[in-house]
C-alpha cells in the first residue's frame, strides 16, 4: 500500500483562555531562547498545561490515503477547525507529528483574501495567488471561475458593491478551481443559496473522483454523509469516535439526542412552574413504534405514532391539534394539523385523555428531530398549550437520497388488451411482446 497522503499522529495543541497578557519580561527571554541555535528541545514539563490553558486538540490521530475523504463532526469548540489549521501549517502542534504529501489547499474561509476596493477580476487573481495558484493558472481558468460564480456582469465592479452572497460565490469559485492533492474544507458551504450549494457539492464530488484527498468539517451532516466515507467525531479536542460515516453520525445523533433530552427536561420543569393556569394542559407526548412500544430511535421508513396526552379542565368544543416537525437546528420541516382542509374534526374533549397521530412512514433523512405539539381552540383560534422538543432520532435504514423521501410507485403504460381472434389458429398471440410485457407488469405488481 502506498504511503498515506495525510498522516496525523498523536497531535496535541493547546490554547489559553482569556486575553493573552504576554509581558515583555516573559516574551523577550523566550524569544531569545528560541533564536539561540544551540537550544535544547522543550522538555515534557514545559509542554504540560499551565493554568488558563486547555487542549484544543488532544491526542488525535488519523491517516488518509489518496482519494479518501473524511468528515470531522462535533459541537462548536471541539477542535475541528484547529485540526485543519494544524494540517495546513497555520498552527504548530505542541506534541505529535503530522505530514501532508502533495499540494495542499485549505478552504478555511472563503474569500479571506478579498479586498473590497478591488474588482471581481482583480480579486480572482489576488485570491488565486493567495491560494497558491500561479497567474497563468488563474488566467487559464478565469472564464470557468466567473461562470461558476455567476457574476459575469459584475466582474469589473469592486467587490464592496457585491451582495454578500455574490462575494461568497466568487470566493468559493476561485477555491473550486485549484487543483490540489489535498483539500481541507471548513464549513464553507453554510452560505450561498441551495442551487449554488449543490453546484459546490457536485464540484467537490468531482474532485473526489479525480483522486483528491479531502477533509471536510461541517455541521451539515447530510453533506458529510454524501461526501465522506469515514468520519471523525471530536469532542473537547478529543477523538470520540472514528469509523464509517454512517456509524459515527448515528453515535453523534445519540449524543446530541441525550443532550437535547436533558435540556428538554430542564425546560419542562421551568415551564411547569411558570405556566399560567389554562383551560388545557398537554401533560405529555409519547412516541410509539409500529408495535406500539415507546421508542426514541427510528429507522428511515418506519411507522411512528405520536400520542398526545392532555388534561382539559373545561370542555373544549372544537379542539385543534397541531404538530410541527423540526430539525435539531429548530428549522421547520413539516407539520400535521387536525383541522387542516377540514379533514378530521375532533370530538369535543374534556378531562384527561389522549389523541394519536399516526405517521405511516418516516421518509426523512437520518437526523435528530423534534415534534412541537400545540393544542388550540379552533373556535377562538387561541393556543391553549404547547409542548416543545419531543425529540427522536432517525437513523439510516432505507436509503433516503436528499432531505426527505417520496412515497412513490413506478409504472409503465399498459398496452390496450388485444382481443384474441377466434378464427386464428396460430397461437402467436400469447407470444406477442405486448402480452409478455403485460404479464411482466402483472408479476411486478404481484
Amino acid at each position: 500500500m502506498p504511503d498515506p497522503v495525510i498522516e496525523f499522529d498523536h497531535v496535541y495543541k493547546k490554547f489559553a483562555r482569556g486575553e493573552q497578557h504576554t509581558s515583555l519580561r516573559d516574551f523577550i527571554p523566550a524569544m531569545a531562547k528560541k533564536c539561540w541555535p544551540f537550544g535544547k528541545k522543550q522538555t515534557a514539563e514545559e509542554i504540560a498545561l499551565k493554568s488558563q490553558e486547555f487542549w484544543a486538540v488532544q491526542d488525535v490521530s488519523f491517516k488518509l490515503h489518496k482519494g479518501e475523504s473524511m468528515g470531522i463532526i462535533g459541537p462548536n469548540g471541539s477542535g475541528k477547525s484547529t485540526t485543519l489549521k494544524l494540517l495546513s501549517g497555520i498552527l504548530r502542534p505542541e506534541r505529535g507529528t503530522y505530514r501532508v504529501r502533495g499540494r495542499l489547499s485549505a478552504l478555511i474561509e472563503v474569500g479571506a483574501g478579498f479586498h473590497p476596493d478591488l474588482t471581481g477580476r482583480e480579486n480572482i487573481y489576488l485570491n488565486g495567488s493567495i491560494l497558491g495558484m500561479t497567474r497563468k493558472e488563474v488566467a487559464s481558468k478565469f472564464n470557468d471561475i466567473v461562470e461558476f460564480a455567476g457574476v459575469a456582469e459584475f466582474i469589473d465592479t469592486p467587490v464592496k458593491r457585491y451582495s454578500s452572497g455574490m462575494a461568497v460565490r466568487l470566493g468559493f469559485a476561485v477555491s473550486a478551481f485549484i487543483e490540489p492533492d489535498v483539500m481541507l474544507v471548513d464549513e464553507v458551504l453554510a452560505v450561498g443559496d441551495t442551487e449554488f450549494r449543490n453546484r459546490c457539492l457536485n464540484r467537490m464530488n468531482k474532485m473526489l473522483r479525480n483522486g483528491v484527498t479531502m477533509i471536510l468539517v461541517s455541521h451539515n451532516l447530510s453533506e458529510v454523509r454524501n461526501l465522506c466515507q469515514s468520519c471523525l467525531m471530536l469532542y473537547k479536542g478529543q477523538a470520540m469516535m472514528q469509523g464509517p460515516t454512517i456509524k459515527v453520525i448515528e453515535e453523534y445523533h445519540r449524543i446530541v439526542g441525550e443532550k437535547i433530552k436533558i435540556e428538554q427536561e430542564k425546560q419542562a420543569a421551568i415551564e411547569l412552574v411558570s405556566k399560567p393556569e389554562s383551560s388545557l394542559a398537554i401533560t405529555g407526548a409519547q412516541l410509539l413504534d409500529a408495535a406500539g412500544e415507546p421508542c426514541e430511535v427510528f429507522g428511515t421508513g418506519d411507522a411512528q405514532t405520536v400520542r398526545i396526552h392532555y388534561h382539559a379542565r373545561e370542555r373544549i368544543a372544537k379542539p385543534e391539534f397541531n404538530v410541527e416537525l423540526l430539525w435539531a437546528t429548530e428549522d421547520y420541516v413539516a407539520a400535521a394539523c387536525s383541522t387542516a382542509a377540514g379533514k378530521f374534526v375532533m370530538d369535543p374533549i374534556e378531562g384527561t385523555g389522549h389523541v394519536d397521530l399516526k405517521i405511516h412512514s418516516l421518509l426523512v433523512e437520518p437526523n435528530v428531530y423534534a415534534w412541537s405539539v400545540t393544542i388550540s381552540n379552533a373556535d377562538s383560534g387561541q393556543a391553549l398549550d404547547t409542548l416543545k422538543k419531543v425529540r427522536f432520532v432517525v437513523n439510516e435504514q432505507v436509503p433516503i437520497p436528499g432531505v426527505f423521501g417520496l412515497m412513490h410507485d413506478w409504472g409503465q403504460p399498459v398496452p390496450a388488451p388485444q382481443l384474441p381472434v377466434e378464427a386464428d389458429p396460430v397461437p402467436v398471440v400469447s407470444k406477442t411482446p405486448g402480452a409478455a410485457s403485460r404479464s411482466d407488469a402483472r408479476d411486478r405488481a404481484a
Binding site: T22, L24, M31, L104, A112, E122, S129, I130
Partner: protein
C-alpha cells in the same frame, strides 16, 4: 544556520508570485478612487522637497546658502536627493508596521510564508520609488547640464549598490517591526515617533557638521541612513565616496538587521495565528 536560511529563501522564491500580487494589491488600493492616482508617488516627495527648500533657504538660512556646508551640491538637488530615498525608507517602515495585523484574516486562515506581507510592502514602496524617479531624473539632468559641479561619471554605477544596502536595511526593519506590532500594538504608535525622530537625525534638509562635538558625531555615524544618503549624493555628483566608512557601517548594519530580523521572524512565525 545556512541550511535554514536556504530553506527560508527557497520558500520565499516559491511564493514570489504571491509577494508580487500583494505588492500590486497595495499599490492598486492606494490609488483607487483618487483623481491623481499614481502621480502622488512623485507629488509627495516633490512637495516635501519644496517645503524643506523654502523653510531652510529662507527661514533658517536667511536666503543665502553656503555651498561649502552642503558638500558643494546645488541646494535643491541636495534636498531632493535626500527626500526621495528617505520617502522610500519611510514608506516601507510606515506601511510594514501594520502589514501583518492589517491582514490578520489571512494570517489566521491561510498558510503561506508570512514574510510576504512585510516584504510585499517593500516591493510596493519600490514601485512608488521608481515612479518618483520620473521627477528626479529630469531635475538631475537639468543640474548636470547647467551646473558644472554636477557631472555623470563612473561613480554612478555604485548607485544600485547603495540602493540595495538601503533596501536590505529597510526590509530587515520591516520584518522586525511588523512582527513586533503583531505581538504588541504599541509598536505602531512608537513607530510614528521613531520615524519623526529619525527624519531629524538624518541629513535630508541639512548636512551635519559635528567636528566640534565628537559625541554627536559618533552618534550620527551610527545612523545608517546618513552614510547611505552621503553615498547617494557622492555618486550623483560624480565623485568618489567621501564617507566610505559610513556606507560600510550601513552595509554591515543592514546585513545584521536583515539576517537577524528574518531569522527571528521565521522562528516566531508559527505563533502569529495565535497572537494576532
Amino acid at each position: 544556520m545556512m541550511a535554514v536560511m536556504g530553506e527560508m529563501f527557497g520558500e520565499l522564491v516559491r511564493y514570489r508570485g504571491l509577494l508580487a500580487m500583494l505588492a500590486w494589491r497595495d499599490i492598486r488600493v492606494r490609488y483607487k478612487q483618487s483623481l491623481l492616482g499614481v502621480a502622488w508617488a512623485f507629488l509627495m516627495p516633490l512637495a516635501q522637497t519644496l517645503v524643506l527648500f523654502v523653510v531652510f533657504k529662507f527661514a533658517v538660512l536667511g536666503g543665502t546658502v553656503d555651498p561649502e556646508k552642503y558638500d558643494n551640491i546645488p541646494f535643491f538637488l541636495f534636498i531632493l536627493s535626500g527626500v526621495i530615498p528617505w520617502t522610500l525608507f519611510n514608506s516601507i517602515l510606515a506601511s510594514s508596521v501594520e502589514s501583518l495585523t492589517r491582514n490578520s484574516r489571512l494570517v489566521t486562515k491561510i498558510y503561506f510564508p508570512r514574510e510576504v506581507f512585510p516584504l510585499g510592502t517593500v516591493a510596493g514602496a519600490l514601485v512608488d520609488f521608481s515612479v518618483s524617479l520620473s521627477i528626479f531624473i529630469p531635475v538631475y539632468l537639468f543640474y548636470v547640464i547647467t551646473d558644472p559641479r554636477v557631472s555623470i561619471s563612473r561613480h554612478l554605477v555604485l548607485l544600485p549598490l547603495v540602493l540595495i544596502i538601503q533596501l536590505f536595511l529597510a526590509a530587515g526593519l520591516a520584518l522586525i517591526i511588523s512582527m513586533a506590532n503583531l505581538f504588541f500594538r504599541d509598536v505602531k504608535y512608537l513607530m510614528t515617533f521613531v520615524l519623526q525622530f529619525w527624519f531629524f537625525g538624518t541629513n535630508i534638509g541639512y548636512q551635519f557638521h559635528f567636528e566640534h562635538h565628537p559625541a554627536l558625531k559618533w552618534l550620527i555615524q551610527l545612523n545608517p541612513m546618513v552614510g547611505i544618503l552621503n553615498a547617494y549624493r557622492d555618486c550623483l555628483m560624480g565623485h568618489p565616496l567621501n564617507d566610505p566608512l559610513g556606507l560600510a557601517t550601513a552595509a554591515i548594519l543592514a546585513l545584521i538587521v536583515f539576517v537577524g530580523g528574518w531569522r527571528m521572524f521565521h522562528e516566531a512565525e508559527f505563533k502569529f495565528a495565535e497572537y494576532v
